[in-house]
């Protein structure tokens, strides 16, 4: 074991063997970049703008922006206090709660969609309770939001929890000494200090919600203008009109790049 370690540490100092590190990385990077390059290349023809601004593309874009924004707002409203609890309180079964909060991040979206349908569908476990109130979720915009929240909200909770946890305990104690109550402590101390983490978490959730596909198609179905989001239009456009699918893909890639740059910038500022 020691010999192996020695062997590798020699490598690190060996300048002309740097390709051993560069080559694997370059291969992986090529895998990330080349497909997107191909999409841009194939999308950029005379019909690009006609496709990008077609009625179907516009409706899908509008619906995606609306539902993902609602998802992000719901997530912030429900997720912020929750993340605060997870960061600061200790209670029984906390690790279990944390596990279930992180679970949707690793769960396949198709499992999420099926689970939502089996739980909140008309014949689902809670469907009959909902129908008493005249609520039927599947195939509605609400179902799109629910699917997006299920899949994307954990990203915000995670980021916010870490943000809150990084606020120094002394600051909190000082505020306590000054006589701040629980709400003041949260709103005037924790919230501003964890602001960047909350904001970048919200953007991550928004981006993920914008790209949600698997859970949505199973739980919300596909109807233009009602449940057909951008990823859905791309999936179906692949079979009907490749031009629209490519144009929408380009739009989504650009939006994603922009949002990622924004979060990276915030993270960088946070470190300074």
């Amino acid at each position: 074991m020691k010999k192996v370690k020695q062997f590798f540490s020699q490598f690190l100092h060996d300048g002309h063997l740097t390709w051993l590190f560069i080559l694997p990385g370059a291969l992986l990077l090529a895998l990330f970049v080349l497909p997107l390059f191909a999409v841009f290349l194939r999308a950029s023809d005379v019909n690009f703008f006609r496709n990008a601004f077609s009625a179907q593309a516009f409706k899908a874009l509008q619906l995606s922006l609306l539902t993902s924004s609602v998802t992000t707002m719901i997530t912030i409203l429900l997720g912020t206090p929750f993340a605060y609890i997870l960061a600061r309180w200790s209670f029984r079964f906390k690790s279990w709660v944390e596990l279930f909060v992180d679970l949707p991040i690793v769960l396949p979206p198709s499992v999420a969609g099926l689970a939502l349908l089996i739980a909140f569908g008309r014949r689902g476990l809670f469907g009959s309770v909902l129908s008493v109130f005249g609520i039927s979720l599947p195939f509605t915009g609400a179902a799109v939001v629910l699917a997006q929240t299920f899949v994307a909200a954990p990203l915000y909770v995670r980021s916010a929890r870490i943000g809150f946890a990084h606020v120094e305990k002394q600051l909190e104690e000082a505020a306590r000494v000054e006589g701040a109550n629980q709400w003041q402590l949260f709103y005037e101390v924790m919230f501003p200090l964890a602001g960047r983490a909350l904001f970048s978490g919200a953007i991550l959730t928004w981006t993920r919600a914008l790209g949600e596909f698997g859970a949505t198609i199973l739980f919300a179905g596909n109807l233009e203008g009602v449940t057909q989001t951008m990823p859905m239009a791309i999936y179906l456009g692949f079979e009907r009109n490749l031009g629209i699918a490519l144009a929408l893909s380009v739009v989504l890639v650009i939006v994603s790049v922009f949002l990622l740059m924004l979060t990276r910038r915030l993270e960088k500022q946070g470190q300074d």
């Binding site: 198609i217 179905g221 596909n222 109807l223 079979e239």
Partner: protein
């Protein structure tokens, strides 16, 4: 040292997972036939595949079931198919035009027609065909690009005659989702999330738990399914054997068992 143990365990598992591949090389070489078939053929072709494999040792049939329009796109984008079985002539024609399939090799091998399906407890309380236009019921049908979705809309056009000129519009206003293939549609009705749908009679045979409302012949659509080998198939001989089997009396018997009618 512990790390080394984990590593060796990993390699043992890796080798173990390779083992079956090694043993098969001693048996006669297995050839694989890739059949791209319309989603409505799922049950019938799976059974045909089993009989075909039993009758032809050394040949494995792999199926790719999806909406014919999705299969056509996959083939156009280079998916390795040996046979294409479509639920309409349109997708077949597109591939012939694109030279993926040779002229005059495609042949019709069955017909199918449409039927209305409902969950067993009929939550939308549909009694007759006209009830499809009843306001407030939830219909899940296949998208317009999917063959069965196209046939359903054509049948609704014909129903405008007896049921009033805006019958089709009223029915389409009840549609809550346009699905990507017919099996997705059937699943949503089976789950009870939709009150009704229009699918193939063969789908109703494959889902005996569902109720049906017949569509009279003069308002129905006949779906002609063509089948053809791909022009650049490396298994042209196997493809021909499989298509012969589908057209044989044995193959046709299986298709009829699953609710399809002979080609005409």
């Amino acid at each position: 040292m512990k790390r080394f143990q984990y590593l060796s365990l990993f390699f043992i598992l890796l080798c173990a997972s390779c083992a079956p591949a090694v043993t098969t090389t001693t048996a006669p070489k297995l050839r694989t036939l890739n059949v791209f078939a319309a989603a409505s053929l799922t049950d019938a072709f799976t059974e045909i595949g089993e009989f075909f494999e039993a009758a032809n040792p050394g040949i494995a049939v792999t199926f790719n079931f999806a909406g014919s329009q999705a299969l056509r796109t996959q083939i156009e984008e280079g998916a390795p198919a040996d046979i294409f079985a479509s639920a309409n002539q349109k997708e077949m024609d597109t591939l012939i035009t694109g030279a993926f399939i040779a002229q005059d090799v495609s042949q019709f091998f069955l017909t199918n027609k449409l039927v209305v399906i409902l969950p067993a407890d009929n939550p939308g309380a549909l009694q007759k065909l006209e009830d499809l236009a009843k306001p407030g019921i939830k219909l899940v049908i296949a998208a317009d690009e999917v063959p069965v979705g196209r046939y359903a809309r054509q049948a609704l056009d014909q129903m405008n005659g007896p049921f009033g000129s805006n019958f089709k519009d009223k029915v389409l206003a009840n549609v809550v989702s346009n699905e990507d293939n017919v099996k997705q549609v059937v699943a949503k009705v089976q789950l009870g999330e939709a009150d009704a749908s229009i699918v193939y009679t063969s789908d109703a045979v494959a889902a005996p738990d569902l109720k049906t409302i017949e569509i009279p012949a003069e308002l129905n659509m006949i779906a002609n399914y063509p089948i053809a080998p791909l022009a650049n198939s490396a298994n042209a001989d196997l493809a021909a054997t499989f298509i012969d089997y589908v057209l044989s009396s044995a193959g046709q018997a299986i298709l009829q068992k699953w609710g399809f009618a002979p080609a005409r």
